[in-house]
Symmetry: D2
Subunit: 306 residues, 4 copies
């Protein structure tokens, strides 16, 4: 059996030389201010046991990891009907590219690129109207088994003030009639969900249902169907890391989702969920040390799905 | 335990209504002539047991499935050095698009699109020169445990006479200095490897090493390292089905590779290899019934990797 | 010497069979309501003489023809410095494409595509602030020698309510730091300038300075330098008709600018200015009958610049 | 009246400081060997008078200027029917881009990009078969009034040995069925026409018919119709200089065509033809000093068509 505490110590040691290699996200001031030298990691098992290293209580902006939660909610509500508005193919282009959107008539390639996540949030807005963000946050609290989770107002306003590319995206999609609610409402909810603050413990717990056929193993609550859980995992594997999704699948071999805040979540089907945090990013916008830590994890444990 | 003969009967029955939905590849006469109503499927276990349905002895043109063999050979020889010439990201574009190649300076996005497979074959040509095709064919014979495998000369000549897009690709790549051998030599080998004829039994056997950490379980021969086997599997998952790779991962949830001849191979890590054949293609160029049969297989057995 | 009244009669007769061939712009309700069967044309000479056919007093929405006025103002103020923010190459893509903008870092290819016109209007906003639109309108009144010109408030609001693509464009350009003023201010001025209503007489007069080395021949006022006038003409020739600019140059052989309202202005250097109006558009968004009328004009008079 | 000898002296003096700014074409050895410091220019009038500066007898590789001759021949033979195979819109992309070709189904945007010129040569091959190059060369001899013109065999073979991008283009177009003759035949003729050697005197004479309504003023021979001559001129203006066509129209204001050998021809309708030679190219692949010399010419003479 794996000695997780020892494993995590090894990983922590081996990633040290990489602390000077990446760059903290700097497109908004609120994100650029974080201490670049942070590293924390949590392994969460089905029986409630967890193992960690670094400051696992340090909350960070979850950013694009929020897309997993909103896609889960939308898939739960709409089922296959959702695919008419968001496809599930890798995009093969940097994460905020408008090119593909234009050639494909406003249908984003998948829900994990910004365009697709915005359409997903719009689909939730059609259901929950003014309380859409509240529903998203409540869902995250429930899957994390933690009522204390909040969003960061400064980051939210910073995103709003600098979100020209996302505003371009949502207007573009609207021009193809694939946004059904007022642009301002949808984009606010989208930026708020990106500004939610969580730590590695909370995020690792929140992903357990994806590792466990759609059921939260700590509460036995059915979140989604087994088939839907598998499909979300496959989507994280093929599309979870922008234009480095292939590389992540290749090196780590686990379904995962990264955010420019520096977090990455990963799922070991039928076994556990993992979250790693380190804010320095590689050139594709994913946590450089987080990616390496997960690569070391699967190499040392043989837990790649392949 | 799964009752495979019963399972295969069920699948065979359930795919019947789809026999009028697809279209046999018609870009070369030699391929368009096959009987469109064929269906065969083989499940190959590590202990040598196999289960099948349909005419498992019917050989068909393996086409792009050959890319798995050449990539395996090139990865075995060059290791990570190979990535300087071929990337491992999904392409997000139809399989023979020149656009991405031009924007990315002649480095194909992965070895399973035509451009990447041509570079892979070129890399083997640098080693084996005039006997490159012979080496590829011998490797296939070895992994299939079958010395009788040949290529179809009519299909080969038909490909040569109609391969303008592939000729465009190889010239384009050459203009970026990413083809090192004479164009005519490389393209001939490439078209020959696509013209190799195999049946579902041979192909299922030939993929066992990828399911078994790089070792052929029937002969215990080490084909490649465990790590390389996992990486090839991850590449099949993210890039194995052209612009429907996400959809295949989403619905089937297994590493796989399709060819326009109508074959699809799939790998269940640590358990088995599967091959299905049915020549009618869907709009993305993959076997329509083959894809459905594999989707039914993982749904019924729960053997998706997710 | 040309008998202009007879010439215009001939043209009017020859374009009759085309009245069922085009389609009135329908992306906003306010534009789609116009009578599709209109045709008017004015030839304006330097000595004040003008010749016309059809209802030359019928005002229509000038739409993209306004781009000639704003570019003239911006070139007059910034000179060559302006080229750092807007290029002067044909775009080779439909008029509202975001693709090229993304590949060229937010620098629009020319001031006559929407993206370039928006940057032009932004550059004027940096000078005139809140009174930018007033300045534009005053300039148009002056070059038209007509103080009565106004914009249509219904069309303006209709544009604002449906302008998602232009909102996408301006946000995209802003993300590259090539918009210097608040998005809402710039886009409002832009939509107002598109909503200006003019008739063929006013528009023909307003273009005389471009035919006459930058000087309004009716008032002898110097509007811009001779060199700048020639450059605006060359830009109208290479970029004045979206993705049909080559075709217009080929068939008509005069510098010109069209608008989706159905107007086209054209310049015969050193001789005259012409305006034609007919609201049915061809597939590239230019007045179908207007283009034909101008082709007939140059064929019959030999006044092509080539 | 203009004092041409003086004018040419002035231009020669003013371009001197630019001799260190450009770069001789180096994609083939045969072109890269020329002396970079050359400059010659010829002005050819309808009455046979010509004025020149520099070594007007120095022959150079005409390269893409040959596209004007082949397009003239094809337009003469096929008329408007030719437009079904080659469009006449600016391309808005570097000269050998495959992207646009793929999106537009193998129909090149105009006959002055490589793809379009190859289709043009193919259309001539359908008429003249094996003697196509001979016909092209004879036509050039006739319009130049000079029987001594030949092609350079070393340049031809050098082009053949390095023409991977053009081989990619022709294969791509063939895959869309827009090449009707064997690829090898067409590409050989194409490379031969590019390798034709001419000096500025010969080229200036050869363009006179385009300035004179389709008639060679020195022999009174009708080469093409007036309408066709104007259309070729308009095409040179909108598409004659790759991705700097707009800039050339903007600064020079004359129909013209450049070649990477360092030559540029320009037409002053109803007045004269000009040829300038200087082998250093700007970043868009046009003669840097040649472009400047022509800009000085129109600025000093006011002979821009605008």
């Amino acid at each position: 059996m794996v000695n997780y505490p020892l494993l995590l110590k090894e990983i922590e040691k081996e990633i040290q030389p990489l602390f000077s290699k990446g760059k903290v996200a700097n497109y908004i001031p609120a994100l650029s201010k974080v201490d670049p030298k942070q590293f924390s990691m949590t392994i969460q098992l089905f029986d409630g046991t967890s193992y960690g290293v670094g400051n696992q209580n340090k909350a960070f902006s979850i950013q694009s990891i929020s897309k997993v939660f909103t896609f889960t909610l939308a898939l739960k509500h709409y089922g296959k009907e959702l695919y008419q508005r968001v496809n599930h193919e890798p995009s093969g282009n940097p994460f905020n590219s408008l090119v593909q959107l234009e050639y494909e008539n406003g249908i984003p390639r998948n829900p994990f690129i910004n365009a697709g996540a915005i359409v997903t949030t719009d689909s939730l807005t059609s259901i929950h109207k003014d309380s859409t963000f509240e529903h998203i946050l409540n869902f995250i609290k429930k899957t994390s088994n933690d009522e204390s989770i909040v969003y960061d107002n400064e980051i939210f306003h910073s995103e709003m003030a600098n979100g020209y590319r996302n505003m371009a995206l949502i207007n573009m999609i609207k021009s193809f009639n694939n946004i059904h609610n007022p642009i301002d409402d949808v984009i606010k909810t989208y930026f708020k969900q990106c500004s939610i603050m969580m730590n590695t413990q909370q995020l690792a717990q929140s992903m357990l249902f994806l590792a466990n056929h759609g059921i939260n193993p700590l509460t036995n609550e059915v979140i989604i169907t087994e088939s839907q859980a598998k499909r979300i995992n496959s989507l994280m594997l093929t599309c979870g890391h922008y234009d480095a999704s292939g590389d992540f699948a290749y090196k780590v071999g686990l379904p995962g989702k990264s955010g420019v805040g520096g977090g990455i979540v990963a799922v070991v089907p039928q076994k556990m969920a993992i979250c790693v945090y380190s804010p320095q990013l590689n050139s594709q916008g994913n946590s450089l040390i987080g990616t390496k830590a997960l690569e070391l994890f699967t190499t040392k444990t043989g837990l790649s799905i392949f």
